[in-house]
Subunit: 283 residues, 2 copies
Amino acid sequence: VVSDSSFFAEGVPSIIYALRGLTYFELTVDGPGRDVHSGLYGGLVANPANALAKMIADMHDATGRVTIPGFYDDVVRPTDEELLAWSRLPFDQAKVAADLGLDRLAGGEAHLPALERCWARPTLDCNGIVGGYTAPGAKTIIPARASAKISMRLVANQDPERIVKAFQQFVAAHTPASIRATVCPMAKGRPVLLKTDSPAIRAARRAYVEAFGRDAVLIRCGASVPVTELIQRILGLEAVMMGFGLPDGRPHSPNERLSLQQVYCGAMAAAALLNNLAADAAG
Amino acid sequence: VVSDSSFFAEGVPSIIYALRGLTYFELTVDGPGRDVHSGLYGGLVANPANALAKMIADMHDATGRVTIPGFYDDVVRPTDEELLAWSRLPFDQAKVAADLGLDRLAGGEAHLPALERCWARPTLDCNGIVGGYTAPGAKTIIPARASAKISMRLVANQDPERIVKAFQQFVAAHTPASIRATVCPMAKGRPVLLKTDSPAIRAARRAYVEAFGRDAVLIRCGASVPVTELIQRILGLEAVMMGFGLPDGRPHSPNERLSLQQVYCGAMAAAALLNNLAADAAG
C-alpha cells in the first residue's frame, strides 16, 4: 500500500493505477579551458552555453514531441475506455493554469488532451541549467562550461536503461565541433501500470466509501513512485495506491501542505482497507 | 591615445584601427509562478528553461550565422586588401586552440577565415545562463524562471540602438505560448573603424620602431573599447590604439597578466609618440 498520491480533486477520492517512470541526467558541456573574452574569441571559439542551449532545444520538435530516436518505441497507448473516462473527469484546465499564474497549459504535445499528455505520454524537462556569468550586471565572457539537469518521465512500457542509452547516443550525435559533452545518469525508475481489478484495489475502493462516503475514481498520475514498481516486479504483488493529498498540496514546491481533515479521514480509510483485506482473506 | 589593446603576437607591435561594438542583454523567461513538480505538471506546463534554450538556439542557424532579422544589414565588408593582409599574418589557429584546450577553433561562421570571423563579423554569445535546480544531485522540478546574459559584438556600421530593437522583436516573435520573456538591455557601444593614415597613427608607427625596433602591423581587434568611438564621434578626433599586451595576457580571464618588458618598452613608445606628435606639429 503506497500513500504517496493525491485525490484527483477535493471530494474525489482516487486510486492511482499507473505512474510514470523516470530517468534523470546531468549533461555537462565543456569548451575552452577557462572563461575567455567574448570580444577576442567571439567568432573563434564555440560557446558551451550556446551549444548546450542548442542540444536542449533539439530534444523536442515543434509539436512538443521528444526527438530522441527510439524514445516512443515501447510506449503503450491508453485504451479508448481510459481516454473516454479521462475526458469525463472534472479537470478544469483554466483553473489549474490560473493557480500557476499561467494563461493556459501549453506543455507537452499540443495536439493531445491535457490528461493524456500528463498521464500517458513521456516528457522531457530541463530541471536546471547553469553556466558562465550569472551574477547581476554584465561580464563579456564565453564560458568554459555549462551544464543542465535533464529528466524524462516515462510511461509503460519504456525501459529506463534503454532510454539512458538512447539519450547518451543522442547527446553524442548532437555535440558540435570542439565541444565536449558528458552525460551523468542519476536517478531512474520504471513506469508502473497496475491491474485495476486486483483484490487490493477492490478492498481499497470499499475503504474509501467507508471513510470518505464516496466511491473512488480510478486514475493515472504523471509522477513517479519507483517503489510501487519494485513491489510489483520484485515481490510479485499488486500494489495499491491510496493517498490523501489534494491537488492544491503543492508537492515539491515551497509551502507543500496536507489538510488535517484529509489526514483524519485518510487514517480511517487506511484502517478500513486493512479490515477489508482481512475480511476478504477470511473469505 | 588608447592603450587597451595588445600586440598581434610577441615581437609584432600592432596598431588597431577597428574594434567591434557591443550590445548586452539580460533575457528572463518566466513560466509557472513557482517551481512545480515535473511529474505532476510535465506535459501540462511549458518549461521556461527549455523555452529559453530554444530561444537561444534559434538565434543562430546551422552555419553559425545570427538569425535576428536585419542583423547584418549595416555590416561593412572588409576590403580585399584587408583580407589579403590578414591571410599573411602569423596567426596559428592550432596554437590558439591548444592554448584553450580545444582541438580547433570552431566558433562563428564556419565558411569564413578565422580572423575575418573575429575582426570583421558580428557575433552573438550567451555569456551566462541560470535557472531551476543547479546544486548537486537531482530535483524533479519545472523551474519557474530561467535567464541568460546574451551579448553581441558588432562591426561597422551596425548601430547598437537598431540591434537592441531587432533583438527585442526577435524575442517577442520567439516567445512560446504561456511563457513571458523580458529583455533588459545593458551595456552597449558602437563599433569603431578608424582611418589608417591619420597623423596620429603615422606618429605611432614611428614610435613603435623607436621603442621596439620593429614596424607595427595595422590590424583589427574583435574586442570593444567604446571610448575610442566616443573620441572619434563626439570629440571629432582620430584616436590611435597603441597597446602593449601580448596574446597570452588572458584578458578578462583568471590570472590576467602583462610582462614587465612590455611595460618598459611600452612606456618608451608612449613617450616617443608624444615627441613625434610634437615634432610633427612644429612642422
